[in-house]
C-alpha cells in the first residue's frame, strides 16, 4: 500500500535548505582544510576533471540525494512498514534547492575572498582554490554563476537518483565509485600494466601519467554497466547450475574456487610489481596484528589499547637475537632460530601485562593498557635499556631472512613470509573460534561473572587471551624487523595500537574476513593514495564516524555482531510485547 502523508511546502523548503546547509558545511570544511586543493594535482580523467573538482561535484550531488532522503524520512517519521514514495517533482525540487544552497556558499566564498584577503588567516584559500571552485572562471560573474548552476543541476540529479529505478541508480553510483577508485590507483595500474609481458599500448590506452584516459574511464563504466545488467542473471544461472550438481562436483567447484584464490595470493607480488608488494607487506603486517588483537578484543572482549607493546616486544626481541651489531645482543641467531624464542618471550610479555589488569574491565582496562603501550615505547627509548636494545639509536645490521640458500631480498620475496605468517594467524584464529576455548572467551565477553559461575576459569582465559594475542603480535613484530633490517623506538607509537583497533572496528569486530578488509582499507588505501598522507588521521576519524553511523557492525561483520547491532532492540521490543511479566503473588498462606 502506498501511503503518502504530505507536509507543507514551507516545511519542504525548510528541510531542503537545512540539508543544503549541511552540504555547505561539508564543502567548506574540505575547502578550508585544504583537501580540495591537494587533490587538484591529480586527475580522474586526464585533462578533463581533477579529483578535487570531483569532490566538489560529489558534494553537490550528494546533498541533493540526502535532501530527498531527509524528505522521505519527514514524510514517514515513524518508519512504518509500508513504502512511502517521494514524488519525482518534489525530489527534483528539493535536490535542486539544497544543491543551490551549497553552490551559493561556494559563490559567497569567492565574493568574500575578493573583499577580504582570506588567505591571511586561512592559508588554504589560495588563488588556485578560487580557480577550482569557480571551475576556471575566477572572480567574475560567470565564476559566481557556474558553481551555482552546477550545484543546482547536480543537486536535482542527485535527488532524482534517489527516486529513480534501482538499477539505474546502481549503475550511476557504481560507475562513479569505480571510475574514481580506478583513477586513485591509476599510477599503480600504470606501473602494473607497463611491466614486461604486457603489450605497451595497454597502459597508454587506459591510463595517463596522472589519472585515467577517457578510454579508461569509459571502459570502467562499460564494465560496471555490464556487471549490473548481466551480473544478476549470470549469478542466478550459476547458482541454479551449482544446485543441480552432485555434492561431489559441488565440492570440486569449491576446491576450484579456493585454489584459484590461493593461486592468486601466491602470484600476487609477481602480478603487481615491487612497490605494490611493499604495500601488500604493510597490509600483511597489520592483518597479522589484527588477528592477534581480534582474539583479545573481538573474542575475549578485553579492550586493549596498548597492543603496540606486544608488537614492540616481538620486534625488539627479534632484533636483539639476530642483529650483527657488535654492541648489542651477540646472539646472532638466524631468523628461524630466533622465531620460537621471540614468540615465547612475547607470549610471556602478554602474561605480564595481563596479570595486573585481571580485575579490570572496559574503560579501566583500556586506560591501563594504553599506559602499558606508552611504557613499552619509553622503555625502548630509555638510556637505561640502551646498552641492551640501543635506545634512541635503535638496532641496525639485522640480517635478511633466508630460506636455505635463498635470501629473501626485496618486498616481492618477503611477501611470502607475510603470507605464511598471516595464513598461520588466520588458521589459528579460525580454529580457536569454534572450540571450547573460543566459547569460553565469548562467554566471558558476554558476561564475565556468569561465565565464571558456569565453570569458566576467567583468570586463566584472560591470561590465555593476552598471551595468544601477544604471540600473534610477535609474528608481526618479527616480520617488521626482518623487513626493515633496522629498528627504532619511534616505530612503536600509540598510533599502531589505534590503527590495529580501528581496522578491527572498520572491518567488523570479531570477524576474521573483517580483519583483512579493515587492513586493506585503513592501511592499504592510504599507502596507495599518497596525497592522503597528511590527512590520514582525519580520514580515519571521518571513516570511523561514518562507519559507526551507517554500518556499525563493520564491512564484513561477524554473525553475532551484526545480530547484536541490528536486531537486539527489535527483539527486545517483541519480547516485551509477548511476555508482559505477570506479578507473582507473594502470599504465604494463599493458594
Amino acid at each position: 500500500m502506498i501511503h503518502v502523508r504530505d507536509i507543507s511546502r514551507a516545511n519542504k523548503v525548510r528541510l531542503a535548505i537545512k540539508v543544503g546547509l549541511f552540504g555547505t558545511l561539508a564543502l567548506q570544511y574540505l575547502i578550508f582544510v585544504g583537501i580540495i586543493e591537494t587533490f587538484h594535482d591529480r586527475y580522474v580523467i586526464k585533462g578533463l576533471i581533477t579529483i578535487g573538482e570531483t569532490m566538489i561535484l560529489l558534494i553537490f550531488a550528494g546533498t541533493g540525494y540526502l535532501a530527498v532522503w531527509a524528505l522521505k524520512k519527514a514524510l514517514n517519521p515513524v518508519q512504518e512498514e509500508h513504502e512511502v514514495r517521494v514524488r519525482r517533482s518534489w525530489a527534483v525540487g528539493s535536490g535542486a534547492l539544497s544543491g543551490l544552497v551549497v553552490g551559493a556558499s561556494a559563490a559567497l566564498l569567492v565574493i568574500v575572498n575578493s573583499v577580504i584577503e582570506l588567505r591571511n588567516v586561512f592559508v588554504s584559500i589560495s588563488p588556485t582554490l578560487i580557480e577550482i571552485v569557480t571551475f576556471g572562471r575566477g572572480n567574475t560573474l560567470a565564476g559566481l554563476l557556474i558553481p551555482m548552476a552546477l550545484s543546482t543541476t547536480l543537486g536535482a540529479i542527485g535527488g532524482t537518483l534517489y527516486v529513480t529505478r534501482a538499477d539505474v541508480r546502481r549503475i550511476v553510483v557504481y560507475s562513479f565509485f569505480w571510475v574514481t577508485s580506478a583513477a586513485l590507483i591509476s599510477d599503480l595500474l600504470r606501473v602494473s600494466l607497463s611491466r614486461p609481458g604486457f603489450p605497451k599500448f595497454l597502459s597508454r590506452a587506459f591510463t595517463a601519467s596522472n589519472g585515467l584516459t577517457v578510454l579508461g574511464a569509459v571502459t570502467v563504466v562499460a564494465l560496471v554497466v555490464a556487471w549490473t545488467v548481466f551480473g544478476p542473471t549470470v549469478r542466478s544461472r550459476w547458482a541454479t547450475r551449482k544446485e543441480n550438481m552432485s555434492t561431489a562436483s559441488q565440492r570440486n567447484v569449491q576446491y576450484g574456487q579456493w585454489s584459484l584464490v590461493f593461486l592468486l595470493l601466491l602470484t600476487l607480488p609477481v602480478i603487481v610489481g615491487v612497490f605494490p608488494s611493499e604495500v601488500l607487506n604493510n597490509i600483511g603486517l597489520y592483518i597479522i596484528m589484527g588477528f592477534g588483537l581480534n582474539i583479545v578484543v573481538g573474542m575475549a572482549g578485553l579492550l586493549d589499547l596498548g597492543y603496540v607493546a606486544f608488537f614492540a616486544v616481538g620486534a625488539y626481541s627479534m632484533a636483539v637475537l639476530t642483529t650483527a651489531q657488535p654492541e648489542i645482543g651477540g646472539f646472532q641467531l638466524t631468523f628461524w632460530a630466533a622465531l620460537p624464542f621471540v614468540i615465547i618471550i612475547t607470549g610471556f610479555a602478554g602474561l605480564l601485562v595481563g596479570a595486573p589488569v585481571l580485575r579490570m574491565r572496559g574503560d579501566y582496562l583500556a586506560i591501563v593498557t594504553l599506559g602499558f603501550g606508552e611504557i613499552a615505547r619509553f622503555l625502548a627509548l630509555s638510556d637505561w635499556l640502551a646498552p641492551f636494545i640501543g635506545g634512541a639509536q635503535g638496532i641496525i645490521h639485522i640480517p635478511k631472512v633466508s630460506i636455505g640458500p635463498l635470501v629473501l631480498r626485496g618486498p616481492q620475496l618477503l611477501y611470502y613470509l607475510f603470507l605464511l605468517a598471516g595464513g598461520a594467524a588466520l588458521f589459528i584464529s579460525w580454529r580457536i573460534k569454534d572450540s571450547r576455548t573460543g566459547r569460553a572467551w565469548m562467554a566471558m565477553r558476554e558476561d564475565e561473572r556468569v561465565a565464571d559461575s558456569m565453570g569458566v576459569n576467567t583468570v586463566y582465559y584472560k591470561l590465555l587471551a593476552f598471551g595468544m594475542g601477544a604471540m600473534i603480535a610477535s609474528l608481526s613484530g618479527a616480520l617488521f624487523v626482518a623487513k626493515l633490517g633496522s629498528i627504532y623506538p619511534h616505530s612503536f607509537s600509540v598510533l599502531v595500537s589505534i590503527t590495529a583497533l580501528s581496522l578491527l572496528i572498520v572491518g567488523g569486530i570479531g570477524s576474521l574476513p573483517g580483519v583483512i578488509a579493515g587492513a586493506v582499507v585503513l592501511v592499504g588505501l592510504p599507502e596507495l593514495l599518497r596525497e592522503f598522507g597528511e590527512y590520514r588521521l582525519l580520514m580515519y576519524g571521518a571513516l570511523l564516524v561514518t562507519m559507526m553511523i551507517l554500518r556499525p557492525e563493520g564491512i564484513i561483520p561477524s554473525v553475532e555482531r551484526a545480530r547484536e547491532l541490528h536486531e537486539e532492540d527489535r527483539a527486545q521490543d517483541q519480547v516485551f510485547k509477548l511476555d508482559e511479566p505477570t506479578a507473582a503473588p507473594a502470599n504465604p498462606s494463599g493458594d
Binding site: 580457536i432 572450540s435 561465565a451 559461575s453 553475532e560 507473582a584
Partner: protein, 265 residues
C-alpha cells in the same frame, strides 16, 4: 555419608547491614527445598555466598563434604553446584546451543592446541559436548530445539530464556541446582509448567534442588521442605503447611512493609 549441601553459622555483612546472619541449612541428596522470605531477607545473598560470588565473613559451606568457602565460582561449579539468576543472565549473542555448550566447560578439557590441530580427541569431545547440550535442551521438548538451536539467545521469549538458563545450569552436570526465582515474570500457565519441571529435574535427572520462590503455588506444589528466611536468619523450616502457618513467617510477610531493604541480588 555427608549431605549434598550443608552450611553452618553463615554470616555476611555489607557495612552495617547484616545480609546473612548465622544461617544454617542442610540438604540431603534428592531433596527439593524452597527458600522463601520477603524482599531483602538475604535469600539471593545466600545464593551468592554459596556460589562464590561473595566470600562469607564467617561460617562453613560444604558440598558432599568438600569445603566451598574461598573457592572461585568456577571451582564451585566443578564441585557440582550450579545456579540460575534472578534476572536471567544468558550469553545473549551466543546461540542457544552455544549457551548450553558453555555449561559443559568444567566437564571437558580440550585446550588451544587441540583446537588448532583438531586432534581426534578434540573432535570426539566437541561432538560429545554438542550431544550433551542437545540432550539438555530436549528436556524442554520442542521449545528449545530444532531451528532455535542456532538462534541467538536474546531472540528467545522471556519464558524460554528462563528455560535456557536452566538448561545451561543442567549442562554443568551439577548435583545441586540453585534456582533464583525460576517462575519470576511468568504467566500462570508457565508457572505451572515450571513447578512440574522442578519435579522432573529431580525425578528424571536426579538433581537436588534448592530454589528461591515468591510464588506460593510453586512452593506448595513441589517442595519437600520449605525454609523461611528474614533478616538473614532462618525463621521457620519444615513442610509447606507448617511454615505457612508459622507466626513469624506470617509476621514477616504481613506484619510490615516489604520495602525496607533492597534484595541483595
Amino acid at each position: 555419608m555427608p549431605p549434598i549441601f550443608e552450611c553452618e553459622a553463615l554470616v555476611k555483612n555489607f557495612g552495617g547491614l547484616s545480609a546473612v546472619n548465622h544461617f544454617d541449612l542442610r540438604i540431603e541428596q534428592g531433596e527439593i527445598v524452597s527458600l522463601i522470605g520477603p524482599n531483602g531477607a538475604g535469600k539471593t545473598t545466600f545464593f551468592n555466598l554459596v556460589t562464590g560470588f561473595y566470600p562469607p565473613d564467617s561460617g562453613i559451606i560444604r558440598s558432599n563434604g568438600h569445603d566451598l568457602v574461598g573457592l572461585s565460582p568456577y571451582q564451585i561449579t566443578q564441585q557440582g553446584v550450579a545456579r540460575t539468576f534472578q534476572n536471567v543472565r544468558l550469553f545473549p549473542n551466543m546461540t542457544v546451543l552455544e549457551n548450553v555448550m558453555v555449561g559443559q566447560h568444567s566437564r571437558t578439557k580440550n585446550g588451544v592446541l587441540g583446537a588448532i590441530l583438531r586432534l581426534p580427541s578434540f573432535k570426539a569431545e566437541e561432538e560429545a559436548i554438542r550431544q550433551k547440550a542437545k540432550e539438555q535442551l530436549d528436556f524442554f521438548g520442542t521449545r528449545l530445539s530444532g531451528y532455535r538451536l542456532d538462534e541467538p539467545a536474546y531472540r528467545l521469549s522471556y519464558a524460554n530464556r528462563r528455560r535456557l538458563e536452566i538448561a545451561r545450569a543442567m549442562a554443568t552436570e551439577a548435583n545441586l541446582l540453585l534456582m533464583d526465582e525460576p517462575s519470576a515474570g511468568m504467566n500462570p500457565k508457565e508457572t505451572e509448567e515450571i513447578t512440574e519441571l522442578i519435579g522432573q529435574l529431580r525425578d528424571e535427572r536426579g538433581f537436588t534442588i534448592l530454589f528461591i520462590e515468591h510464588d506460593m503455588r510453586v512452593v506448595k506444589g513441589v517442595s519437600d521442605r520449605v525454609v523461611a528466611m528474614d533478616f538473614g536468619t532462618k525463621i521457620a523450616e519444615g513442610s509447606y503447611e507448617t511454615v505457612a502457618q508459622d507466626d513469624r513467617v506470617i509476621e514477616a510477610y504481613l506484619g510490615r512493609t516489604s520495602e525496607d531493604g533492597a534484595d541483595g541480588r
